[in-house]
């Protein structure tokens, strides 16, 4: 597949993610921070985001599984998740976290459980698209470095 086609595929994918509300303007900022001297920056941030998120989703699941829920701890994790999704431009995840925080403040267990499911759903949809994105990026960069040789 030609470099041009790969680039086109990547653009289409990223644009669709914006249109669907999965990503927001912060993601564009990340793209702007990537350059020839730091070609892996976006991939690195995405990877960190995914690791962070999965860790937090695991903790949140455990916390909400308790008979008596420690809402302070839940809130702390949701706050963290909201922060990292905001930093990477993961809009749909961030919005879900905002709702989640609301339920937390109300000590609403059902609301929290339902919102946790929503966050997971949003996160996993995003992750699968991120994976495709990173694969395309890798192929493009491999092409680029091949061409330079």
């Amino acid at each position: 597949m030609s470099l041009m086609v790969l680039r086109e595929q990547l653009n289409v994918l990223v644009n669709s993610m914006f249109l669907e509300g999965l990503l927001d303007a912060q993601f564009r900022q990340l793209q702007m921070l990537q350059d020839a001297s730091n070609p892996g920056f976006v991939a690195e941030v995405i990877t960190l985001f995914c690791e962070d998120s999965e860790r937090m989703l695991t903790e949140l699941t455990k916390l909400l599984d308790q008979a008596v829920v420690d809402y302070q701890k839940v809130d702390a994790y949701v706050h963290q998740l909201k922060g990292s999704s905001s930093s990477v431009g993961a809009q749909s995840v961030k919005l879900s976290c905002i709702q989640f925080k609301q339920f937390c403040e109300e000590n609403n267990k059902e609301g929290c459980l339902s919102e946790l499911n929503m966050v997971k759903h949003q996160y996993y949809s995003l992750r699968s698209k991120f994976e495709t994105m990173l694969q395309l990026e890798q192929r493009i960069q491999a092409y680029d470095s091949e061409q330079q040789n």
């Binding site: 912060q26 900022q29 990340l30 702007m32 921070l33 990537q34 350059d35 020839a36 001297s37 730091n38 920056f41 690195e44 941030v45 960190l48 985001f49 962070d52 706050h79 963290q80 909201k82 922060g83 990292s84 905001s86 930093s87 990477v88 431009g89």
Partner: protein, 203 residues
């Protein structure tokens, strides 16, 4: 003397989130040729700053062998476990050796009372997260203020103008296209410094 004049402007970034540390480091390095050190807590920040025992009785003193690193600006997250960004700000401002270091606070929450408290506590700026490239411009005056003091100590004649920034002025040819185009658009309305390259190390 010559070595000091060549020393890069050194920013200490404090944030408990690894992601945010990566981001702020990239933002700082992209917008200007800063040297950046990142730490994940206020207490580590104080260690790096070399806070001495006589300045702060509640902070542990450093061992005599510990080398102090010179820091020209501290940028810290507000919400951190243990020592908050505000606590760190206060400790820096209460220290005779560190009080002149400009401190910038970042927070994901737009709480006016928090912002005021930080500014009144001596913070130079308050950045809302996620921090953007355009926010980096707001560091300009604080960098120049710090550098200017240093330069006056080292050199007798100086052209200074506090309305100038030193953002990315000499490093353009080393950076790549698209991002720098964006940066140059941002920077094109700012006047470049009149300093010669021998007095500042931006090459």
């Amino acid at each position: 003397m010559a070595v000091d004049a060549e020393a890069q402007f050194h920013v200490l970034a404090v944030d408990d989130s690894l992601m945010d540390r990566k981001l702020i480091e990239r933002l700082l390095k992209t917008s200007s040729s800063f040297q950046v050190t990142t730490v994940d807590s206020g207490s580590k920040a104080l260690e790096v700053l070399g806070l001495k025992e006589e300045d702060q009785t509640s902070t542990s003193a450093l061992s005599p062998q510990h080398n102090e690193i010179e820091v020209n600006l501290v940028i810290t997250d507000y919400c951190m476990p243990g020592m908050t960004g505000y606590d760190l700000l206060k400790k820096i401002k209460e220290s005779s050796s560190l009080k002149d270091i400009p401190v910038v606070i970042m927070s994901s929450e737009n709480v006016p009372s928090r912002i005021n408290r930080c500014l009144e506590g001596g913070a130079e700026e308050f950045f809302l997260k996620p921090v953007q490239l355009s926010d980096m411009r707001r560091l300009g005056p604080h960098i120049l203020k710090g550098k200017h003091k240093e330069q006056q100590q080292l050199h007798q004649e100086e052209n200074s103008n506090t309305n100038h920034t030193i953002m990315g002025s000499s490093n353009n040819n080393n950076m790549s296209n698209k991002r720098k185009v964006m940066d140059e658009e941002i920077l094109s309305d700012r006047t470049r410094l009149g300093f010669s390259s021998s007095s500042l190390n931006l090459i």
